[in-house]
Amino acid sequence: MKSSHQIELTAGVFLLLAVAALIFLALHATDRGVVSGESYELQAGFSNVGGLKPRATVSMGGVAIGMVEAIDLDPETFEAKVTMRISSEYDNLPEDTSASILTSGILGDQYIGLEPGGSPEVLADGDRILITSSAMVLEQLIGRYMFNSDSEGEE
């Protein structure tokens, strides 16, 4: 039988271990996760973001370089305004970089793919990406396909 002192000490260590597990899980496995390292902000307007969600990946050439921080509707242009947080490691993106909303795999989430341009000027914190292409919306694609096949039939 352990002494009372030892038992209380072990129980204290156990509780401490649980608190450490709580902090680790809350910070690393949930949406409050801390993004490590320095980062800067970019914005882009899309006419349709489809199923894009906050914290979706922003990638260039297939490499994750940041994440979507917020998505809201611009009250004047009625475009979806997407705020992205890009790792400071990649602070030399050309000014004419284009952004498009893509889907990974069949069941995959939507993410933003950046395509570098050729401008010598670089995007800085708070800048806006001007060339964007919206998410593919399946209903619109089907509609377009049906419309095209109809007109072909008439010709």
Binding site: I7, E8, A11, A21, A26, A29, G33, R55, G105
Partner: protein, 255 residues
């Protein structure tokens, strides 16, 4: 015992449930939160929590391992192996962590609480406490109730952590998934309050119910060796059913 005393097959479990509820109310009405009570509760956290750590850690690791193995195998058929961390984290935090840890807790800690109290009753220690004007509710029952509600959430956290380690071991080290994608997918789909917090709320409820049933069956056991043996069996059965039913009710409220 005659049937008049115990009621019919239908009413007997209801009466038992009612008696357990009254017992809980009595325990609550005599609760005190002094320094001494909390120190005793901490000692009980050791017996219920620390002593269950080995079974929780080993089961957690292998649950994470097999869960990842199964989902990885299925998801690769759809080309969605990246979603494995999302499936792992969501199923662990919301369901498997609290439920499996509670069932293991009932088997390891619940039975030992029942046996301990049943044995105290059989050896007339509870009556001795009464004679010394020490309230057994306050000295014996309350610390164990508190310890259940504290120890099980802690065990669930450790279970979830080791299960994640098991999942990472399989997905990242054995299957070669990218660890950054693994964490990023998990972070993008697990909500702190809804998924993680909901699971922890369940853990607190399960811990409390498991401790309540354990002390109740110990308290109401027939003071013979046979009665104590029967009571420990009943603790496991009742806790398993209660946890699964409560899990359904809590999940329905949280969705």
């Amino acid at each position: 015992m005659n049937s008049e005393q115990n009621g019919t097959v239908l009413t007997a479990p209801l009466r038992e449930f009612g008696r357990a509820g009254l017992f809980l109310l009595t325990a609550f009405s005599r609760m005190r939160f002094g320094r001494r009570q909390l120190a005793e509760a901490l000692r009980q956290v050791y017996f219920a929590g620390v002593r269950s750590l080995v079974i929780i850690v080993i089961s957690g690791f292998f649950v994470g391992l097999v869960l990842t193995l199964q989902t990885y195998d299925t998801l690769t058929r759809f080309g969605a192996a990246d979603a494995v961390s999302t499936v792992l984290a969501l199923s662990l935090f919301r369901e498997l962590g609290p439920v499996l840890a509670a069932l293991l807790f009932a088997g390891r800690a619940g039975t030992s609480i029942t046996a301990e109290i049943g044995l105290m009753k059989a050896t007339e220690q509870l009556d001795a406490l009464d004679l010394m004007a020490i309230d057994p509710m306050e000295r014996i029952i309350q610390p164990r109730l508190l310890a259940g509600a504290i120890a099980l959430p802690c065990l669930v956290l450790i279970f979830n952590l080791t299960a994640l380690v098991g999942g990472i071991f399989f997905a990242v080290f054995l299957m070669g998934s990218d660890p950054i994608t693994f964490w990023a997918n998990m972070q993008s789909s697990v909500e702190l309050l809804r998924d993680f917090g909901g699971g922890m709320l369940k853990a607190v409820c399960f811990g409390f119910v498991a401790a309540w049933l354990a002390v109740w069956f110990g308290w109401s056991a027939r003071p013979t060796s046979e009665g104590v043996a029967l009571a420990t069996t009943q603790t496991v059965i009742a806790t398993a059913i209660a946890v699964l039913v409560l899990d359904f009710i809590l999940s329905a409220f949280m969705l």
